[in-house]
Amino acid sequence: MNASYSSPVRLSALSAVMAGFILAASPAQADRIEKHFAVQSKPKITVRNSTGRIQVKAWTKKEVLVSWTSKSGKTAVETEQAGNRVEVAAMVNEDAASADDSKTDFEITVPVESELSVRTDSGNVTVDSVHGDMTFDTVGANLQLSDVDGYMVVKTIDGSLLCTRCSGKLEANSISGNVQMIEPTLDSVRVQTSSGNIFFDGSFLSRGIYIMKNFSGTIEVHFSSSDSFDVNASSLKGDVINQATFKPDTHGTPHPASKWGHSLFGTMNEGHAKVELTSFSGTIKILKRD
């Protein structure tokens, strides 16, 4: 009787002790470190990381909050502030042997009106609701921009770019990364990727210039019947698939038919925007939005 009563208690106690041993034997929980930087309007924040997640979001405070975790403890983060300039850099210790050792995850909160410069090798980068000029330089890191507004320059080797409800101007250059622009209100787009795909689903703004170029991927743009743009689409070895009804371009320079590849020139409505789509061997699709 006594034994049957005490057994669950002893088991619980034993479990607690075992759990303690297990916790003690496992790697130390990564410490989260925070730093606060008081800034005035429109600070410039520079982030340097080797690998790890970088999340940037906006708030209404005049303050930059930088927090980070390094699971391995083999990275050190250096920060610097000079007025409205804040720099954050993850430095990898010499004894870091693997990518995991070099990993530092950042969460950064900035005023809505801020400039950003981010350089990282791998790990995802997300930026949400920040308004200001931004540059991103990555090797394999994927980049997600949401509700941002400004002049955005992206350079990556095989990272992808997903730009959702982006406004302003976008320059993106990649070798094998995909570039997607969803519901953009961009008035200048210059996107180039070699083997990646390019996807544009949004309005072509009046006076906007949209240049999309790749080597072998697919370029797909969606238009609505109220859009007004000139189009120049050429694929040297691939196809041009078009669902639009264009009239001949009456206000641009004449386009002699190329004897190489497939080309399409024309104007939709008044041709207020300019759209250039170029591929070497990829397929270009100009599709009507549902």
Binding site: S50, A99, S102, D121, D158, F215, W260, F280
Partner: protein, 230 residues
């Protein structure tokens, strides 16, 4: 205080235009290696400015030195006997390229040379210049910038970038994979241009692929030389 070579290199890196400061000029008078370095940079810089010139021909010793040092670093797969037999570069010439800023500047100049190739080929006499893309047969002892670019830079493989192997394996794989992609594009574009010499679009893609390779190498060297992002 007497200036050291390292300080001189830093000044040279930062010097855009105009005369060097007096201490640097004084150092030049006493240091043969830095004189040669300064001369080489001037030559490459001048060449880059002459984008519209008919013949882009920097001093022969610039290319010889470059080739020798690329060979020494095993950055060239197949050394060419003709240039190997030429006079070697001064010792330590390549060492300056180990400095990321100088390497970046150099690759920038190489890009300028590549742009010159594109510029020349876009000129009305493009057919004549395009012929330079294929190996020339001894019309001059001085290789044209475009052929040197093609022979030297385009043959660099990812396995030969110093220090790249030490990096994050995902980064190394990414750079290696993308170098293969760009090399493949270059091969496809070159084939197209050979088959259709008057196809302007194919030429533009070819020069774009050259530029992309040079930029990729610059990124790889920058990442490797600086130990990643530090």
């Amino acid at each position: 205080m007497t200036m050291q070579c390292e300080q001189f290199e830093q000044i040279l890196e930062q010097q855009d235009e105009g005369a060097l400061p007096k201490p640097a000029l004084a150092h030049l008078e006493t240091c043969e290696a830095c004189r040669a370095l300064s001369s080489d940079f001037s030559a490459i810089h001048d060449m880059a400015l002459e984008l519209g010139a008919e013949d882009v021909a920097p001093p022969e010793r610039v290319w010889i030195a470059l080739r020798n040092q690329l060979e020494a670093e095993r950055l060239i797969h197949e050394p060419q006997d003709a240039l190997q037999s030429a006079s070697p570069a001064g010792p330590g010439w390549w060492a300056v390229f180990q400095r990321p800023a100088v390497a970046g500047a150099f690759l920038g100049l190489v890009l300028a040379a590549a742009s010159a190739v594109g510029y020349l080929s876009n000129a009305p006499q493009s057919a004549v210049h395009y012929a330079q893309l294929t190996p020339q047969q001894g019309t001059s002892s001085v290789p044209a910038a475009d052929s040197v670019f093609k022979e030297e830079v385009l043959t660099v493989g990812s396995d030969s970038i110093p220090g790249l192997q030490r990096q994050d394996i995902a980064v190394t794989d990414s750079i290696r994979r993308n170098l293969q992609i760009v090399d493949n594009f270059i091969a496809i574009c070159e084939k197209s241009v050979r088959e259709q010499p008057d196809n302007q679009m194919a030429k533009e893609y070819l020069y774009g692929a050259y530029q992309q390779k040079a930029e990729l190498l610059a990124t790889a060297m920058n990442r490797s030389m600086t130990g990643g992002l530090q």
